[in-house]
């Protein structure tokens, strides 16, 4: 079965810290995505990657960066965490092919910045 695994379900960090959120998929998917989810705002795309070492900005990339050194792993980096980055972060992956391939999501990381 399809599996997207996020390294932590809950994470608490302090303002100014560098934070890494890790995501691994076991489906050999080309595309990987990072979203944040906030009440009333739905899911907003931060970054996505369509190949190893490739990345594209989503709707809200400010304050974030990403890394994709291997096909199965996509990391989200908060260079200097701020309180407004407290949120639920969701990772997803999808295949590339004819039509629009469905995304498979992890169960999220709830990040609190104090």
């Amino acid at each position: 079965d399809v599996k997207v695994t996020q390294s932590s379900r809950y994470l608490v960090k302090r303002t100014g810290e560098k934070v890494f959120l890790e995501c691994v998929q076991d489906m050999d998917h080309e595309n990987m995505f990072w979203y944040r989810q906030d009440p009333g705002l739905g899911l907003r795309l931060i970054y996505f990657s369509y190949d190893v070492k490739m990345k594209e900005k989503g709707d809200i990339p400010e304050g974030y960066s990403v890394s994709r050194e291997k096909k199965e792993r996509f990391s989200l980096i908060l260079e200097s965490a701020s309180t407004n980055q407290t949120s639920m972060y969701l990772c997803a992956s999808s295949a590339t092919g004819q039509g629009n391939q469905p995304q498979h999501f992890g169960d999220g990381t709830r990040l609190s910045i104090l």
Binding site: G42, L45, Y50, N100, H104, G108
Partner: protein
């Protein structure tokens, strides 16, 4: 990027058919429409996808009118386990996908 609009919440009784509509006025020619379901403390899960007219699978139907500026997710005979948030997603055909989720519709099924 196509933006989507959905009702914030809906209530329905068990056993009824539920229809959730998503507006996407700026949908592009190659955009597909995908619906996801999300339970608390879980990531969204794919339900159904379509391009035009009607698509049906074992859990839902998706109706897309000719102008494709809206779509309707139809859940037949809902049960309590269908209580969830439902998201409409409009996306490009393939390649560098820019994905725009709606804000979601919180569906509550009443016993």
């Amino acid at each position: 990027l196509a933006k989507t609009t959905q009702p914030i919440s809906m209530d329905s009784y068990e056993g009824q058919e539920v229809n959730i509509t998503c507006s996407h006025n700026n949908i592009a020619t190659n955009d597909y429409i995908t619906w996801y379901q999300q339970f608390p403390s879980q990531g969204p899960r794919f339900i159904i996808q379509g391009y035009k007219t009607k698509v049906t699978n074992e859990v839902a139907s998706l109706f897309i009118p000719a102008d494709r500026k809206s779509s309707t997710l139809s859940l037949p005979r809902v049960s309590l386990s269908d209580t969830a948030v439902y998201y409409c997603l409009v996306a490009l055909l393939s390649g560098n996908e820019k994905l725009t989720f709606g804000t979601g519709t919180r569906l509550t099924i009443i016993p």
